[in-house]
Structure formats: structure tokens, C-alpha cells
Symmetry: C3
Subunit: 206 residues, 3 copies
């Protein structure tokens, strides 16, 4: 329990909630893209680039505020780390969208949409957790659930890899699909890094 | 030379030694798996998952302790970094085991066991060095030897890659073997990150 | 604006300028290697290894100085991060040179030299910016230009990937070329991380 010299700066909580909102938007676009035809995909990927720019703006606001204020609601490094970790999740999802368009993928394995469903659940939980950083209450359910979802995504990812190598006879197609599937796994890992940071922040405050 | 307000907290040294012990167990399982037939491999990979869970528990104990104590034997960031770096080594080795099983590899190139021998030597040296963090003595031999071993592993890795591309005509087999070989190189790099952190900690204390 | 207890330690600025000078040397060697025949490439890659060792020496000097002094011209973590980020750029470029030799690449796609031109511009700008850390003046032009160049490199990279998958029918050749192209993109990202760190440092001082 540390002394606070000033009232907590609430804006950080608002900025993190906004940033996590862009994560929810992003994963929604990714899910939409999976169901679209090739023409639709390009348009959705373009919308993702816009969402990514908006998120970059919010992350930049957090960094700027951080570098210009003395009193922060929790450790500067953790604020900086949390903004970057949320940004990394968005970047990974944007890369997945972009690769699906760039590689002109005809058909993704059906398990990919299961992975995206896990990502959607992670995004919603993360978005709901951000305002709770203010009181540090009811956060343990959030990070435990994210760890459970990440384990589930990991098992799905390994099944997906095994299936890809079983079903794909063309090596070039395999290279494309494997890269997309690996990038989606990076996005899942990114949600876990966000949750671990939140856990670290909460433990310091307890 | 900084003032110490309380006696050093010895438990961190014990926890790091225990964690490095799990690294030694892990590399032993990896070596065992290389020599096993397909049925044996699955069972060994399952035992590695258990070793990894044990290691996760120790890393979590370190983080928790870190977040609840004011006085630490060296910088909090370095303690956190060291626990994470040891954990990353175990994760990389577990991934290698898992991929060998998942990809149903028939025959690994013979140089792979040379790489694993280097990993074993790194694990033993790391395990022996952890208790010496208490006195900060005789650590320079450790980190110099790890840098030497990492250079050796790097040369082995590049020879392995050249050999893989020379000997493998099937692209899909090549993708599988290359991923395994690259993950083993990640494990070697991980030992070097651990040694660099130890060097940083020791220099600060000198 | 923080109080300074002693005059700024100028040696850090000199060391960063020297380190960035090695980055300029490295990218020059990479450009030279692209234009060389196979025999010439090996000799140039060997010279890159020497440049990398020199750079490692400078980075190590920075770390050592950092761990033995109390007063630093800006945050210790930022000094350490900047040295590492510059080192990572050199490592990525060395890896690209090494892979071109190791994989005995006959013909790189022509756009690769466009990417290397962007890397050269990034290296020069970074080298010119390092001495300006002393006064923190005229740095915003530098980081804005790096962000612009990184965006340009990113678009080039995606075009290169699309072209590789269109033009390459042999999967094993594709694996080799894709790895080289991805490592060059890592080098570009590395320059952006350097610029982001410089921005962070400058904002704290403003």
C-alpha cells in the first residue's frame, strides 16, 4: 500500500478501456473477414488498418501522458508495458487479416474460426477488465479465465498444425496457412501477456 | 555497493536454484526423447509437460514474492527478468519435444544431438551458478563459458541448416525439421539471455 | 525537467554515435554483398562478422559503464534499451548476409535492393541523430522520418512477399528467400524501435 500524493489520474483507465475497445473491434473484423468472399476481404482488411491507426493514436496518447506526468496510478513501466501489450495484440490480428488477403487464401481450415472465437472471448474479457484497474477488484477471475482460454487456444493450435500437415500436400500452400495460424497463436499469447501484466499490477497494489 | 537495510532474503536464491533444476530435468527429457522410439516419445513429452507445470509454479512463486516484499536481494526488474528468462528456456525445450511428436519425425539429423549436448552443458552450468548469486563470487567463469557455448551452438545451427537444405528434397519435411532446429537455437539463445542478466546483476553489485 | 547533480556524462553520447556508426558500416556491407558474386559474398559476410564484434564491444562498454555509475544523462533502462536496440539491428543485418551465403542464393528479387536502400537511409539518420541526444534538439524530424521509412519498408515487404509467392514455384527456394526477406523486415522494425526509444527519452526530458 503506497501513499498517494494526488487523486488517482483517471484518464489512464479511460485510455486503456478505449484501447481494449479497439481490440474488440479488431477481432470482430477478423471474424467478419473469415466469413467473407475475396472482394469483401480486401474491404474488411482496409477497415482493420483504420482501426489499427486509431489504436496507435490511443497508445501514443498513453505514452505521451506517461512521459509528461510525475504521478501515475501504478508503475510507469507497467503502464507503458500494458499499452504496448494491447497494441501487439492488435498488430498480430491485423497481420493475420493482411496475410489472408495477400496470400489469396481460398479455404482456411475450419478450426481457424474456433481459434477466432477464443480470441473474441479474450478481447471481451480484457475490455471488461480495464475499468476494474481503478479499484483493482474482481480482476483474478479475469486473468484466470484468460490463462484457461490461452491453454485452450494452444491445444487448438497444435491440433490445427497436425491437421495442416496431414491435409496439405502442396508445400507452398502449407507455408501460407502455417504462417496465418502461427500469427493467430501470437495474438492469443498477446492476451496472456496483457493478463500477466494486470496480475502483476494488482499484486503490487494488494 | 548499496546499503542493505535488512539481511538478504535467501529464498530467492533457493527458488532460482529450484527453477534451474527444472531446466536440467527438461534438457534430460529432451535428450531421452531423441533416443526413444515413437511410442516412448509421447510418454516423455507428457512428462515434460509436467516438468513445465512445476517450473511455472516456481516462477509464479518468485513473481508473487516479488510483488509482496519491499526489500529484495537485487533489483526487482532483474529478479523478474531472470525468472522469465529461465522459464523461456524451458518453454522452448518443451516446444521442441512437442513438435518432434506432433510432426511424427522419423529421423532427426545427427547434429541435433550435438546441439542438445550443448544445451545440457548450459543447463548444468546455469544450475550450478544460481546459488552463487548469494555471494556474487565465481560468476564470471559461468557467463564466459555460456557465451562460448552459445557461439558453438550457433555454428552448429548454421551447419545444421546448410545440411538440412542439402539433404532434404521434400519441402514439407524440411519445414518440420527447420522449425525444430530453430526452436533448439532459441533455447540456446535463452541460456545466453540468462547469463547476460546474471552478468548485469553481478556488475551492479560490484 | 530534472535537476542534474553533476555535469552530463558525455561518453554515452560518443558511445551511441560509435555504435550507430557500426550500423552504417553494416548496412554498407549488406548493400555491397547484394551486388557481389558468390566468392565475393563470403568475404563480405566475414567482414560483417568483424563489424558485429566491434559493435558488441561498444554495446558491452555501454552496459559496463551503466552498471558502474550512479549518474547517467537519462534513465538507465533507456540507455540499456537503446544499446540493445542498436545491437539488434546489426544482428538482423548480419543474419541476412549470413543466410544469403549459407543458402547459396542465386538471384534475389530486385525489390530487395530497394529495401536495403531504405535501411541505408535509416542507418544514416540514426547515426546523425545520436549526437543530438546531448541537447535533445531537432530529434522529432528524425523519428518522424524513421516512422515514414518504416511504413514504406512495410509496404515494400508485403509487395515482396506477394511477388515471391507469385514467382517462386519451388517451395524450398521460397522458404530460403522468405526467411531472408523477413529478416530484412526485422532490421527495419529494429530501426523503428530505436526511434521510439529516442522519442521516449526526449519526451521525458522536455
Amino acid at each position: 500500500m503506497r501513499l498517494r500524493l494526488t487523486p488517482r489520474d483517471t484518464t489512464y483507465f479511460d485510455l486503456f478501456t478505449t484501447l481494449a475497445g479497439h481490440v474488440v473491434t479488431g477481432v470482430g473484423l477478423l471474424a467478419e473477414l473469415l466469413g467473407a468472399d475475396k472482394a469483401g476481404r480486401e474491404e474488411i482488411a482496409a477497415r482493420f488498418v483504420e482501426a489499427e491507426h486509431d489504436a496507435d493514436g490511443v497508445a501514443h496518447d498513453i505514452t505521451k501522458r506517461l512521459n509528461q506526468t510525475f504521478v501515475t496510478p501504478f508503475d510507469r513501466d507497467d503502464i507503458y508495458g500494458l499499452a504496448n501489450a494491447l497494441d501487439d495484440v492488435i498488430d498480430a490480428m491485423e497481420e493475420a487479416c493482411d496475410l489472408i488477403v495477400l496470400y489469396r487464401i481460398e479455404q482456411l481450415p475450419s478450426r481457424v474460426s474456433e481459434v477466432v472465437q477464443v480470441l473474441q472471448r479474450c478481447a471481451e474479457l480484457t475490455h471488461e477488465a480495464m475499468p476494474r484497474l481503478r479499484t483493482m477488484e474482481e480482476l483474478s477471475e479475469y486473468w484466470m479465465e484468460i490463462h484457461r482460454l490461452e491453454n485452450q487456444a494452444d491445444r487448438l493450435h497444435r491440433k490445427l498444425l497436425a491437421q495442416l500437415f496431414d491435409d496439405t500436400t502442396d508445400a507452398i500452400t502449407l507455408i501460407k496457412l502455417k504462417e496465418i495460424v502461427d500469427v493467430l497463436e501470437d495474438a492469443c499469447d498477446g492476451f496472456e501477456r496483457v493478463a500477466t501484466l494486470v496480475e502483476t499490477i494488482a499484486l503490487k497494489e494488494s
